[in-house]
């Protein structure tokens, strides 16, 4: 039995080449315990480790993708990757950095140069608001919450009058 070059106690089972400060290569034989403590790994085991590391990294990315959630609609980036559909307009802001490379791959460009929208109109917003208020009002009446209904009715009149 050859004793470990490092601890002198354990059975040396592993050859390690090391570079000293002058750049000279020396070879030592060490025991499994010393190898473990100093982080030496055999090449075969190293290969297995690389696969493990990649899987681990991938899991972490996937985990990151499911943690990345659009605060507006609740869609996670992982879900988007599965369905290839975004949840709402806000998703483009929420996943901006992830989407840019993807958009570049699809279109060879990321900057829109075509027609622009005038940014929406007040009238449209008002119609949506009126609709929402109407729904809330009928809900309040159904719940017999007349105080709330009266407030909603006033608000509705005001919005419709604008």
């Amino acid at each position: 039995m050859k004793a470990c070059d490092l601890c002198g106690k354990g059975e040396a089972t592993m050859k390690v080449s090391q570079l000293d400060k002058e750049g000279k290569v020396t070879e030592i034989t060490i025991c499994p315990e010393c190898a473990r403590q100093r982080g030496f790994t055999e090449v075969e085991k190293l290969k297995a480790n690389v696969a493990e590391i990649i899987t681990e990294l991938k899991n972490r990315i996937d985990e990151g993708d499911s943690k990345l959630i659009c605060p507006n609609c609740g869609l996670s980036y992982a879900e988007f990757k599965r369905q290839a559909r975004l949840g709402c307009a806000e998703c483009y802001t929420s996943f901006h950095d992830q989407l840019v490379p993807l958009i570049r791959r699809i279109h060879d460009a990321v900057q829109h140069v075509g027609r622009t929208a005038s940014g929406g109109r007040k009238q449209a917003q008002m119609k949506m608001n009126v609709q929402k208020l109407r729904e809330a009002l009928s809900g309040a009446i159904q719940d017999e919450d007349y105080e709330k209904a009266a407030a909603l009715r006033d608000q509705l009149r005001k919005t419709e009058g604008e």
Binding site: A89, L102, T116, S118, G120
Partner: protein, 347 residues
């Protein structure tokens, strides 16, 4: 919309380059800013979107010049004819969500509410005519935008449920008939060329459909980084080249293989005039053969418009709408043969 014998004006076969190009289509995808995209929206969002877009259509005066259909009407199995006429998508007709559908009286303009995007509208024109199709689509877009708040970002353009439609949100396409390029086996080269410059080439009824009757649809894939006119110019350019190739191939065939071409054309016509049972696919293929004969002047008593019209009306749902009856497949094949025979005997 008339499910009977008439078809949209875009099939009048009167447009430019009609011997090769059947139709031009411009489709725009738009979404409302403050509503989740269709697949993630609640039923009440779907309803609200239908209401809001319907209001907008009323305000812009479009509703007066067309028809508006909603769920019950769209659930009708007969609505398959909208797909056959290229006015609505299969997914849209099959969807259970609250949907709205508008079609102009001339069937050139149609609009789907709550398809993959909140709004998808299109304009079709006869022949190769992007100015006509795009101008009309842009006009509807502007009018709708005066009433609706679109989801838009200065960086990404019009925001769509799938990033493949981002930017202009525009899909521009031409439907071309390329029988001579298929016969001379030059088609591969042409299609590869189109794909090489970033265009998509598909069969008659869009994605995943085979190329029945040698009809091909050429469209843009990319929607970001180019203006609408740049996209259109690219497709128009390649279309013009394809038209040129196809005409040259037709000339070549007429010079070198006249008898074979005439044989193909007259066999098509003979079968169409004589068959007692005709499946939809067989009919399309034979009509395509007849179409080649009409464009080459081999058959003179039938017009291109009649051929184009026939092509749409023999499709299963259109045939049933025309006859006003629900038929089994076997009944359809028999009635189709009768219809085609009668049309071609007394054109």
């Amino acid at each position: 919309m008339s499910p009977g014998g008439s078809v949209g004006k875009w099939l009048a076969a009167s447009g430019p380059e009609a011997d090769v190009v059947l139709s031009t289509r411009v489709r725009l995808a738009r979404n409302l800013a403050d509503v989740p995209f269709t697949h993630r929206a609640e039923p009440r969002d779907h309803e609200r979107t239908v209401d809001v877009v319907r209001w907008a259509l009323t305000d812009t005066g479009y509703l007066e010049n067309g028809k508006f259909l909603q769920n019950e009407q769209l659930a009708d199995p007969q609505c398959q004819y909208l797909i056959e006429r290229h006015l609505a998508s299969p997914d849209f007709i099959a969807s259970k969500a609250k949907r709205g559908f508008y079609v102009g009286n001339d069937e050139a303009t149609s609009l789907m509410i709550n398809e993959e995007d909140h709004l998808r509208f299109q304009v079709m024109a006869s022949g190769l005519d992007f100015p006509e199709a795009f101008t009309a689509a842009a006009a509807l877009d502007e009018k709708l935008e005066s009433q609706l708040q679109y989801a838009f970002s200065p960086e990404f353009g019009f925001l769509t449920a799938c990033p493949t439609n981002l930017g202009t949100g525009m899909r521009a396409s031409v439907l071309v008939h390329l029988p001579a390029l298929v016969i001379t086996r030059e088609i591969e080269k042409v299609l590869r060329g189109a794909i090489h410059i970033g265009l998509a080439v598909r069969g008659l009824y869009g994605e995943g459909t085979e190329t029945k009757g040698n009809f091909f649809q050429i469209s843009n894939q990319k929607t970001v980084g180019q203006t609408e006119w740049e996209i259109i110019e690219t497709i128009a350019d390649i279309s013009r080249q394809v038209i040129l190739y196809e005409r040259k191939a037709r000339e070549y065939l007429m010079k070198k293989l006249r008898v074979e071409v005439e044989d193909k054309v007259f066999r098509s016509l003979g079968l169409l005039r004589g068959a007692r049972v005709l499946s939809s696919d067989e009919a399309i293929n034979l009509i395509a053969g007849l179409r080649l004969g009409v464009t080459l002047g081999i058959v003179n008593e039938i017009s291109l418009e009649q051929v184009t019209r026939l092509m749409i009306l023999v499709r299963p749902a259109n045939l049933q709408a025309l006859l006003g009856e629900n038929l089994t497949a076997a009944e359809r094949d028999e009635r189709r043969a009768t219809f085609v025979r009668e049309t071609l005997v007394h054109p």
